[in-house]
């Protein structure tokens, strides 16, 4: 049975590409991943409200499909297999993101909170203060705080980027925030 996914991709064709990829055919795998990427972008567009994270979620799912490609059974339909992975990886992504955001205390969040838009004077002050606080940190801690707390990347992403473990990143960022808080208290006194 041949089913068109989102009116464009033939499911049987996608299945054949994946089966070839399981046998090590790189060209078939390249075509499969290209199609998969487009399917996922369309699939997630209506399901993910924050469009800025869409590329991240799509990449998470594609990596998941890559890791689980040996589990695909050629006698079964490919679409339910793909969607089960997509669903699992999407939920996993949100759980992790939520967990990463929750590991700072309320004080730490206040310290790093961005000013309201339009408040230029306060923004400039805060920017200056933030830079001053960041200056007390060693380079590594500064990079990690910038990446995780200011740019909004996940702990996992920072860990992969710096070649550290996730718990190590959390500890380093936690220590950095503590130092910044101490600096903040010293300034207010």
């Amino acid at each position: 049975m041949s089913i068109k996914i989102y009116g464009q991709v033939d499911e049987a064709e996608l299945s054949a590409l994946l089966v070839s990829a399981q046998d090590g055919d790189r060209r078939a795998y390249e075509t499969f991943l290209g199609e998969l990427y487009r399917i996922l972008e369309r699939y997630l567009w209506r399901r993910v409200s924050d469009k800025s994270v869409l590329p991240d979620v799509v990449q998470e799912i594609v990596v998941g499909v890559h890791k689980a490609r040996h589990t695909y059974d050629p006698t079964q339909r490919v679409f339910p297999w793909l969607m089960a992975i997509a669903r699992y990886k999407t939920i996993d992504y949100w759980k992790r993101r939520k967990r990463d955001r929750n590991f700072f205390t309320h004080d730490e969040e206040i310290l790093l909170r961005q000013p309201a838009p339009g408040d230029e004077v306060e923004l400039a002050d805060n920017q200056w203060l933030l830079e001053e606080y960041l200056d007390v940190l060693p380079q590594k801690q500064r990079d990690l705080v910038s990446m995780v707390k200011l740019e909004g990347h996940s702990v996992r992403y920072a860990a992969e980027f710096f070649g550290m473990t996730e718990s190590n990143v959390k500890t380093t960022v936690h220590r950095a925030i503590k130092k910044m808080r101490e600096r903040s208290h010293a300034t207010t006194k």
């Binding site: 790189r26 290209g34 990427y37 990449q59 990596v63 689980a68 040996h70 079964q76 992975i85 992969e160």
Partner: protein, 217 residues
């Protein structure tokens, strides 16, 4: 690997470069067969090491005893079936809940024997003394079935971690309880309920908790 700032082509190129022929998952029936084989051998070896109950051959003449072993085997089998089925994405179906039937039958069998004794002798007399050796026995006998199903499930891609953990632990614990039936000489139904049946549920719940640590991929 810094994924976020990479272009789609670059990212996909890395995955394509990593494309090697993969070892496909074995069919479900073969995985089940491997698991049953390992579990039976494991229980046979460990049971011999721990020592079978003296009246084992006599007990095989009891219909109730044999029925209980069959029910435990079915519980273990269907739990393993569910675990192996759901470790392949998109494979959840009604069959993964078949384990509920032998579980209910097992509960009914034990409770039907237990309640009259409870009414006659009272709760303390029926439950009897502590027999932690039985719990230890289940744990020892469940080790090989557990490891076998754990590695077979890990080879897949678990998309229902808690359910998979529960099924892996339940199948192993039920197999352990089956083995213990042939080791423990105490036939009191109270003892059976507390020291043979409860640990099975305890281990299964532990499986749910531990799954989140061991099922990531």
């Amino acid at each position: 690997m810094r994924r976020q700032n990479k272009s789609m082509e670059e990212f996909l190129g890395e995955l394509v470069a990593d494309c090697q022929p993969v070892c496909r998952m074995k069919p479900l029936w073969l995985r089940l067969l491997i698991w049953i084989g390992l579990a039976v051998i494991g229980i046979g070896v460990l049971g011999t090491f721990l020592g079978w109950r003296g009246d084992l051959l006599m007990k095989f003449r009891s219909t109730y005893f044999v029925a209980e072993l069959i029910v435990l085997f079915l519980l273990s089998f269907w739990a393993a079936y569910a675990a192996f089925k759901v470790c392949v994405p998109g494979q959840r179906c009604r069959g993964v809940y078949f384990w509920v039937i032998p579980l209910v039958v097992w509960l009914v069998m034990v409770l039907v024997s237990f309640l009259p004794e409870l009414a006659e002798h009272g709760v303390f007399a029926v439950i009897g003394n502590s027999h932690f050796l039985c719990v230890r026995g289940i744990l020892i006998l469940a080790v090989i079935p557990f490891l076998a199903s754990f590695f077979l499930v890990r080879f897949g891609a678990v998309v229902y971690p808690k359910y998979s953990g529960y099924m892996v632990a339940l199948s192993a614990a039920a197999m352990g309880a089956l083995g213990l039936q042939m080791l423990c000489p105490i036939d009191d139904v109270g003892h059976y309920l507390v020291w043979h049946m409860s640990p099975v549920f305890g281990i299964a719940v532990l499986g749910v908790y531990l799954a989140k640590y061991f099922s990531r991929w």
